[in-house]
Symmetry: C2
């Protein structure tokens, strides 16, 4: 697929074909409405059964607006993966950055991720379907998410808050831990106490399985 | 979907419709050939493009043999998810059981999983596609895999080898860690030293992120 023709927030300028990037606030609002509608449509019906006309109907926009921003269903799907990835980042990042130290940051990151999943249950289906519809977007979502974890770990190590040898393997391990806990306790289980789940997982991450005494 | 009409090894008797369970060694061999062929066909072409005739062609069996064991493409796909899940279990379990203690068992489990992924790269595509084709199988694969991790943890804790408070959350965290490391270093990266990846991840799991001094 081509580059996506859309982005959100600050990344609009970098994200793709400048011809299709909205230049007005109204345009950005329409684009966001289309992406929010696409999240529901793809989340409920899956890529193959989703339709452009249903997306515009859900968005309350004319069919023409769709083609102002996207050329195809593939293209809005690709943009949606990036949009959800960015929404997740924008939800988690400020909370993580306000944490007093790196270990707390990982707990807060997981707890806020679990909260995001509760509110956006479609995220699993959409990101996971990208594995079949647009592998490059799928892989990029995880690579960018894990790169953020790695950066946090390395910054925490540089500040002396955690072990000094953290790197890529640790970041992928934490990414996987969070995604599975999100599936189990965010997606499948609406009642789990997410603060408590995050506390237990963070205690494992901080202290490991070894007996402490 | 109905219950699967197939299983492997010891579980044959429990796995589904007894009418279709092979009663002879020759029948079990044919069934296995069909499942191995299905792994390649679904792995290469995906569920929607895969066909029953291509599976029997790859297996070198008559089309009639397929219908001896399965009623449909959905049914062999469901059986395949269980078959791959069991193959993985059968590959990992003896190695893990021979480990001297629970922390080593987790290292050996991860290393043998990474080795399995290298040899069976189609496992990710097949299990992940089950999310869209047969959600119950998808969920069961992870629930049974994580239940085995949990049992190992609880047994290790009972033997006093690891912290006493291990449970379900720890098991899902470890499951996710392993699945992501398998994707990154087993599936995407053919050159990574999997023993070293397992060692690094196991050191994190054993000791955590906190500075040890």
């Amino acid at each position: 697929m081509d580059q996506p023709h859309v982005a959100t927030g600050d990344t609009a300028a970098e994200a793709g074909n400048p011809d299709k990037t909205p230049r007005t606030e109204r345009g950005r609002r329409t684009l966001r409405k289309l992406l929010d509608a696409a999240a529901i449509e793809f989340g409920e019906r899956g890529f193959h059964d989703a339709s452009i006309s249903a997306i515009t109907r859900r968005a309350g926009t004319a069919l023409g607006s769709f083609y102002t921003y996207f050329d195809s269903k593939d293209e809005i799907f690709q943009a949606l993966v990036r949009y959800m990835s960015e929404q997740l980042r924008d939800h988690v990042t400020p909370l993580v950055q306000a944490a007093p130290d790196e270990i707390s940051a990982e707990r807060i990151g997981l707890e806020s991720f679990l909260g995001f999943v509760r509110e956006h249950k479609e995220i699993y289906r959409i990101i996971d379907e990208a594995e079949f519809v647009d592998y490059a977007s799928y892989r990029r979502h995880y690579e960018t998410t894990v790169a953020r974890v790695r950066q946090r770990l390395e910054d925490g190590a540089a500040r002396g808050e955690i072990r000094a040898d953290v790197g890529e393997v640790h970041a992928w391990a934490i990414g996987g831990m969070n995604v599975f806990l999100g599936m189990r306790y965010g997606l499948w289980d609406a009642d789990a106490d997410i603060a408590e789940i995050a506390r237990i997982a963070n205690d494992l991450l901080a202290n490991g399985l070894k007996k402490q005494d």
